[in-house]
């Protein structure tokens, strides 16, 4: 089961750079890169921080591939 996310799309929408988002949620830029590529599944805490940064719920950003 693959968990996908809309981080890249939302980041573009909010005009965030990878570095800016990384700083906002307290991780390295490489972690955002890995997240966008789907190589890394974040912890619940990081997912909540990302959701808060985009003013959305976790489910609106992260979803299982067959759900969409």
């Amino acid at each position: 089961m693959v968990i996908k996310n809309r981080v890249k799309e939302l980041r573009a929408k909010w005009n965030f750079t990878q570095s800016a988002l990384a700083e906002a949620v307290g991780v390295t830029r490489q972690t955002i890169v890995a997240l966008e590529k789907g190589d890394y599944i974040p912890s619940l805490l990081l997912a909540m921080k990302i959701a808060r940064a985009f003013h959305l719920t976790i489910e609106e950003i992260f979803f299982m591939e067959d759900e969409k």
Binding site: G26, V27, T28, Q30, T31, A34, Y40, P42, S43, L45, L46
Partner: protein, 156 residues
């Protein structure tokens, strides 16, 4: 990739350390001979070249490694007590470090018995390579370090 620099530094330090211990081993052998045969004019000769090389090169490497590490870490005990390769700035790096440690542990499980078995050849090479045990002992941390490095690189 900072860890590649750490791998090179660690290897250089390991080789220099092995060289220093070999020099001390040679001196120790001479002291043992002197105890058996006190008529000899001198007790032992020690080549301090390796020691100076370790202090100078090791000092420079340690300075650069720990200066960079101090920049990333505020807690001083972490800077001095934890290996420089532990980059755990966020949760993903912590996970990669944990995976690399696991790989390193597995590598030790295999390398330990193999390296121990290589001691069987010591009687055959003792004359030509008296420092054979030192080389073998240092091979274990080297194997572990390479396993750690490869795992880190694969997962980063």
């Amino acid at each position: 990739m900072n860890n590649f620099r750490y791998l090179i530094s660690f290897t250089v330090l390991l080789v220099l350390f092995g060289w220093v211990i070999s020099a001390y081993y040679s001196a120790s052998e001479q002291i043992a001979d002197f105890v058996k045969n006190p008529d000899r004019k001198y007790m032992f000769e020690l080549n301090i070249g390796p020691f100076i090389a370790l202090v100078c090169i090791g000092g420079i490497l340690a300075f650069f490694i720990y200066r960079k590490k101090k920049r990333n870490n505020k807690i001083l005990s972490k800077v001095f007590l934890l290996p420089a390769e532990f980059e755990e700035v966020d949760e993903r790096e912590k996970m990669i470090t944990a995976r690399a440690c696991r790989t390193s542990y597995v590598a030790m499980m295999y390398a330990g018995p193999i390296i121990t078995a290589l001691f069987i050849f010591y009687p055959f090479v003792a004359e030509k390579v008296p420092y054979y045990p030192i080389i073998l002992f240092l091979l274990l941390p080297f194997v572990q370090y390479v396993a750690y490095f490869l795992s880190w690189r694969k997962n980063y």
